[in-house]
Each structure stands twice: as structure tokens, then as C-alpha cells.
Symmetry: C2
Subunit: 184 residues, 2 copies
């Protein structure tokens, strides 16, 4: 398989770290892959910025930090401004249209989706925005299956909130499906 | 300051990853330090083992993985058997007496505490075992202040459960205090 180097970036409270751990656990516990998940808290973290890295591979992973992601998700303008230049040529840059205004061209597939707005319209709870984002991301990349994500959600989410999380995941998958097929 | 290289090891469901993220955020968001937190999911993870690494420093942290921890916490026998040999000479190895039987000498301060039993006796909820362990660990090392841990808990724990978490943290601190002072 391709080695996936994924960076989730945004602000504290958007659930970026939780989403990245769910993805790593789905890959490692339910798809027989290796995964490393990490976050580096420096001075930006004290300003509210959050970044979480995930590497997924069928081989051993020695260095856990991602320098050039092939999948980059930016959920704030600050994250987009800081990281969009790091996306690997030919990779994927996903942003949320509520939070990010695209300002530059990158040598990657650049997609913006109305994830936050869709979650608010359909569910009314911004707390599952991160799960919708995860749905969109796996709908676009197929790094892991939806079933593997749901298996992890079942171990982490109190049963009363599971249905809301499933719906948010489904909204993300549908948003990814609504895009025109990749031309390449 | 000393650079702290900390490994939390145990099994899925013991809250090891959550505890490690709380520690990293306490250091980074409330004490002006840098922190990196990571977990590497390999084949052992599919067998239920969990390991989380944290590095805390006042300088930049380039390599996020810990090879030789100066603080090692083992919450299962398997984790103890696997990792106790890696503790840095002069470091600290902390185990829980309910889960781990000490079987070897290490060139480090080796402490076992009845954290699990104390939490069950006083609170009755094993879910806060990880917070008690975190309390014991910061009571022994003073890596971050209790107040910084509580500030992070306040952002992560629903208000109805905050008091239970504070009590678990306090139990851990008291267990650490009950030990004879370090001889060196």
C-alpha cells in the first residue's frame, strides 16, 4: 500500500486530536495496518492552534512526525495559511468552507467542503464536526473502511451519542460522494 | 530543566492515552513548556496493549519517540515485562500493585502503588484509575503542577464528572506523598 502521511490542523475544541486517534485506531486495530499518531504542542498551541499527525502503513513506521503530508486537512484560516504549502505534490488538501478562504494554488487536489454547515444544519451540534470531517476524509481517500471507523466509535462514544456520531460520519461520506470524480 | 521522557504503558481501556494527553496539554498550555505526545500502534495494539509517549522540555523537541524513558509507568504485567528493561538509569519505574508483580531489579527507583485498589475503595469507579495514576506520577516527579492538570481536566471532563476526577487525582497525590522520601 501507499504510506499515508496525514496532518489534521485546526484549533482547540474542533476535535482534531480525537479524530486523528480514531483514524489511527481504525487502521491499526481493525485493518491490520501499523499506525502512529502524534501531536506536537509548541508556542502555537498556547495560541489555540492544534495539529495532529497520523502515519498509516503496512510496514513499520520509524519516524512518527509528518513533514510533507499527502493528506492535509485545515479547519482554520491560520492552519491553512501555515500548512497549505507543505502538502505533498499530487496529494490532497481538504478545507472547510465555513472556516477557510482559499488563497493560493497548491500542487495538489484542493477541495473545500461545507462540513461544518452541513453538520449544523442536519444535527445542530458542532461537537460532531470532527466526525463529519473524518467521514469526508475517508470518503475521499478510502484509507480505512467506514465499518472500521464505526467499530472504534463504538468503543469511545457513550451509547446515547453513537447515533449522532454515525449521522455526522454519514454526512461527511455523502459530501465526499457529491464531488465530481477525480480527473486523474 | 531536565528533559522528561515519559512512557505510559498498559492495556486498552485503562485510559493511558487520555492521561498522556492531559499531561502534555498541562505542560504546554499552562506551564509554557513544549510537549510532544505520541502513540505507535503495531501488532501488540491488536492484542490489547497500549503505549503512549510524552516528551516535555523547555526547548524544541525534534524526535517525538521515547527510547529510554526516565519516567516509565507500567499498568499491566505484559507492559512491565516488555518495557521495564528500557528505563533510563536513575529514572523512575512506577507500577500498580493490583496489575503488576515485580520480577526484576532495575537500575532506577522502582515504586509500586495500590492506585487501582485505592480508586475502587474510595470512588468505586475504575474509569478514573488513569487520573489517580497521573496524580501519583506528578506527585512523585513534579513535572507539572496539580493546578495545571486540573485546568486541563476542566476543558475535557463533563462538569458532572469533574469532582470524581479531582478526587482520583488527589488519591494519587496522597499515595505518592505516603512514600518515604527519596534517599538520594
Amino acid at each position: 500500500m501507499e504510506r499515508y502521511r496525514i496532518v489534521f490542523s485546526g484549533s482547540g475544541g474542533q476535535g482534531v486530536i480525537t479524530a486523528s486517534i480514531i483514524l489511527a485506531e481504525a487502521a491499526a486495530l481493525h485493518e491490520g495496518l501499523n499506525a502512529v499518531q502524534s501531536q506536537n504542542y509548541g508556542p502555537e498551541a498556547r495560541g489555540g492552534a492544534t495539529r495532529a499527525d497520523v502515519i498509516i502503513s503496512d510496514r513499520a513506521i520509524r519516524f512518527p512526525k509528518v513533514n510533507q503530508p499527502n493528506v492535509l486537512i485545515c479547519l482554520t484560516q491560520e492552519a491553512y495559511n501555515r500548512y497549505s504549502g507543505t502538502v505533498r505534490p499530487g496529494g490532497l488538501l481538504l478545507t472547510d468552507s465555513h472556516f477557510v478562504k482559499l488563497e493560493r494554488k497548491v500542487d495538489a487536489r484542493q477541495l473545500e467542503l461545507g462540513m461544518y454547515k452541513s453538520v449544523l444544519d442536519a444535527i445542530g451540534k458542532p461537537v460532531v464536526f470532527n466526525i463529519c470531517m473524518l467521514g469526508a476524509m475517508i470518503g475521499l481517500t478510502h484509507i480505512v473502511s467506514t465499518e472500521s471507523i464505526i467499530k472504534v466509535l463504538e468503543t469511545k462514544i457513550p451509547s446515547g451519542f453513537l447515533e449522532m456520531n454515525r449521522r455526522a460520519l454519514e454526512i461527511g461520506l455523502q459530501l465526499a460522494d457529491s464531488l465530481p470524480a477525480k480527473s486523474s
